[in-house]
Symmetry: C2
């Protein structure tokens, strides 16, 4: 891993400044964070942490995607979270990682040494309150995903994943999700299968089926086009107007 790219970045110009754990910090609080922060870079496929590892840092995803996953002895694995820019890695108050963290794409994270960060939590309320809010959001997302895993058909699972990625892509680019929109699909079939609780063959078949039905189309292998968003959403099985804040 090269450790250079982001090293000289000022918090003020950080792309995730407005959404990350530091979002509510005052300038003086930011200065403190600045003193304990450092960047790390990982290539696609590299592990960041194994379950059980000592964690000497907590971190924010700055760029790229990481996965949080669990593996059983016989090799069955389940992804339990997708970490996108501004998402938080690690947990104050616990020393070892509960899950594997792997860089899905090339990845840059902004690390804080754990002890200083934990002290900041007790001294600067703005970090604690933002972290609580982010954790509550993560919990809601995890629970929504439980419905996908427990009750949806393979086709609905694929549609749900594409809908989520489409929404996140739109929100990252700060433009609304519209008909005809396109986005990069940053996951292999296997990673999608691990996220959805399916096999990679089933994922492939269902994507082919959605393509054949005209609900999506692919540009190259990694770019998805959604001609009519409503039609994709109908395939998710969800209430059309239900719940999620975009």
């Amino acid at each position: 891993m090269n450790e250079i790219a982001f090293d000289s970045r000022e918090c003020g110009s950080c792309p995730i400044r407005h959404r990350a754990v530091c979002a509510r910090c005052e300038p003086d609080e930011l200065d403190i964070l600045n003193n304990v922060k450092y960047y790390r870079n990982y290539e696609a496929g590299q592990p960041v942490l194994w379950a059980g590892d000592q964690m000497e840092f907590v971190a924010s995803v700055v760029k790229g995607i990481a996965s949080l996953s669990q593996t059983m002895e016989d090799g069955r694995t389940q992804m339990v979270g997708l970490l996108l820019p501004s998402d938080f890695i690690g947990r104050p108050g616990r020393d070892n990682a509960p899950f594997d963290v792997v860089a899905v794409s090339d990845l840059t994270i902004c690390c804080f040494r754990k002890r200083p960060f934990e002290e900041l939590l007790t001294t600067t309320p703005h970090i604690g309150s933002r972290l609580l809010e982010m954790t509550l959001d993560e919990l809601d997302s995890a629970r929504e995903w439980m419905l996908v895993l427990g009750r949806k058909t393979a086709r609905e699972k694929i549609a749900s994943l594409l809908a989520i990625l489409a929404r996140r892509d739109a929100s990252l680019k700060k433009r609304p999700a519209v008909n005809g929109m396109a986005f990069e699909l940053p996951l292999t079939r296997e990673a999608m299968a691990d996220y959805l609780g399916l096999t990679l063959e089933t994922v492939s078949r269902q994507i082919s089926a959605l393509k054949k039905a005209g609900i999506i189309s692919l540009e190259g292998k990694r770019r998805v086009v959604i001609p009519e968003l409503e039609i994709l959403l109908a395939e998710t099985g969800d209430d059309v107007d239900g719940g999620l804040i975009p």
Copy 2:
């Protein structure tokens, strides 16, 4: 619902005092909570909140069990959390409930009006830090459950649920989980199915199978006996020594 039972309880004698959101409060902070708290009781089966409802309160489960669940238009439902004594209901900073909350057994909750509670969060750090810790724990549990939903077989799912209930029962009674232990099974087959992402018939069949294999036995319809804990745990598919803190 009768609103009497717990009304005169002092926080000092509260059975969940040491584990709930108020666990770290100093006596003066507890006084403040005391002023905005009130108890509610529900009978088994009664709804506490519907998804989308305005929440005028947050609460702690004092006694009994509640479920957190989601239902699709066609009736498929997935339980996304089991709320046991000391667990927290609601989330500061959001006005409407994201999921249905239903009393599974007879239920008593300790409510705090939402606005005063949110103010306490900003003024007394002991509540915020405890809530953050509880939320992080909930998030870990939710993610562990995602492995169950996404990757485990029906038999492993049942064994996992029984193992969890056994552990929680042991920790509630403050004695270790041992061979020969017994506990109440507070869920109907249908509720178990909704938690596990199965049908009630499959749940029934797998319980019969575990019984036939001598891995569990039932006393009456609601009491489960576990002759050898190790053997049950082996059926969960998990690493025997893996992760969980009891």
